[in-house]
Amino acid sequence: MVEGEITGIVLLSLKVAAVSMVFAVPMAFAIAYVLGRFEFYGKGLLQALVTLPLVMPPVVTGYLLLVAFGPNGPLGRLFGAFGVDFAFHWEGAALAAGVMAFPLLVRPMRLAVEAMDRGLEEAAATLGASGLTRFVTITLPLVLPGVIAGAVLGFAKALGEFGATITFVSNIPGETQTLSLAIYSLLQSPAGDRAAMMLIGVSAFLAIGSVLLSEWIGRRIDFRARS
């Protein structure tokens, strides 16, 4: 395997993971906020639904995605009308990665929302801030560390997603073959060990890098440490 191919695999994986997070993070935050703040009928059901990808076999999740978002699936047809084709395309890999990472995104965000002192929002209201202003100036900055922690965790998960991806979009070099899938393919062939080791090294580097990045960002926005 030549270096150009390895670079291509890494770039594709980063693209898939990044695109999945762009869509999944805001959705996960909205759900985390609703779960952390409100009591409503069906809250338990929503909670279970969000956790499902974590506990279901990834193959099953991938198959369900194929049924729903495949060329003949109801959602697949809907998106197809807008020119977005998931099955066997990198967009599908991003969708699978986002769905599988979703529970990991929601959990730290929800904890941050629940841990936030609502008294601060009350104080802001007495100072004249409207609901939207309170959300932007108080709530959002204070839960941001939780949102970033969730996003980094989700990004790392999305980079390495395997089971649902291979089931939903298969293992097509240059289109859906992300890091984990490439490593899997290389390990199947007797000559692939060296290239596999390189990709494993890259995976480890990206994983450690994202954790360090999140720590660094966390420290940057940790107002408690400022003096």
Partner: protein
């Protein structure tokens, strides 16, 4: 400006049924923990909704269940200082102070340097709340509320989370705010000393009901509220003007309104300054003849105005000292043997040592 409050609310087993009005100066809502003080404050601020009643300022109804009015918190223009400061941890002191301006769309006519000067927080603007002491935090919180240009300031036990040292540090600032900002303040507390120092009007609350309300000095000199104002701590408020300070003995002579002198241990206070002194009933002894050769520095002449006798070993007596009421608590045995009755001239004796510095406060 004045505030008219009429509230009814049932929170489970607990029922609040309170009506009172608050004018200029400090209106203290005094009551034990769990008497509903904080709930009433939250209802005025709009953070809690009463089941029925009305809350009205001079020209605006903030809440009126009959007319279906319930103004949102951020439209009420009511500043609130919470027990736990509630500074925004991710903002500098300067950003906290000006929050009402940049986030609350308040015009910014309140004078920042005047208010930070008044509260002694000029040097803190670049700091973050986590690095402030408890007393500094509370002062910043007061400044932040004042800078949001409120029509009314609510204070929910602003000193309760502080130690004695910090309380002593902040009370003079509260007195400054009261005397210089010209803003009605509703002050909730269960500390009789704080209330005695700060209150112009007193609302006595017990178990969600208003037992009585009125001028603080009058309220402190009524016999009906003995237990509620703290049987052990009960005392009257006397007003006067600083006449002289004797640095050699560390004694301040106060010319009481009506013309008698009271000596208290204190730091140097400027001559001519108006003071209010709380004198606990249990620190006052009575004599029917002019006492001689006693160590007690304060002997005030007066006449017995009233008393409350029951089965307890103590009798609570009100003594009229040139128009001001002093409370004395003596044993029933002494009461009987001295033959105390209404109109009897008596000499009230108060040990200067019994009047602590916390009990003397300035009033402009």
């Amino acid at each position: 400006m004045s505030l008219e409050v009429r509230l009814h609310s049932r929170l489970g087993e607990f029922e609040i049924d309170a009506s009172f009005s608050a004018g200029s100066g400090v209106t203290a809502i005094f009551g034990q923990s769990g008497s509903g003080k904080t709930s009433i404050l939250k209802m005025i601020a709009g953070l809690m909704q009463p089941q029925s009643g009305s809350i009205k300022t001079d020209d605006t109804a903030l809440f009126d269940s009959a007319e279906n009015i319930n103004l949102a918190v951020h439209r009420r223009r009511i500043g609130m200082v919470f027990q736990d400061a509630r500074l925004f941890p991710h903002m500098s002191v300067a950003r906290n102070l000006t929050y009402g301006r940049w986030a609350g769309k308040r015009t910014g006519s309140a004078d920042l340097s005047r208010i930070t000067g008044l509260l002694g927080i000029e040097g803190l603007s670049e700091r973050y709340p986590a690095t402030l002491s408890g007393g500094e935090k509370q002062r910043v919180a007061i400044g932040r509320a004042l800078l949001s240009e409120p029509a009314l300031l609510l204070m929910d036990e602003p000193l309760a989370s502080l130690d004695q040292e910090r309380k002593r540090e902040i009370i003079p600032y509260l007195e400054e705010v009261r005397d210089r900002m010209g803003l009605p303040i509703i002050y909730v507390s269960h500390d009789i000393d704080e209330v005695a120092r700060l209150a112009d009007t007193l609302v006595l609350l017990s178990d969600g009901k208003v037992l009585g309300s009125g001028d603080a000095v009058d309220m402190f000199s009524k016999l009906d509220f003995g237990p509620e104002l703290g049987r052990y701590e009960a005392g009257a408020l006397m007003s006067g003007t600083v006449h002289a300070f004797d640095p050699q003995y560390g004694l301040c002579t106060i010319a009481l309104d009506g013309g008698q002198a009271l000596h208290v241990v204190s730091q140097n206070i400027a001559r001519g300054e108006r003071l209010r002194v709380r004198i606990k009933a249990r620190d006052v002894a009575l004599s029917v003849r002019a006492p001689e050769g006693v160590s007690i520095r304060n002997v005030l002449e007066g006449t017995v105005r009233g008393f409350a006798v029951d089965d307890s070993p103590f009798v609570e007596i009100l003594v009229d000292v040139a128009g001001q009421i002093l409370r004395a608590r003596i044993t029933r045995q002494a009461f009987d043997s001295l033959g105390i009755r209404e109109g009897l001239p008596v000499f009230a004796m108060i040990k200067s040592v019994a009047i602590g510095r916390r009990m003397v406060s300035a009033r402009r």
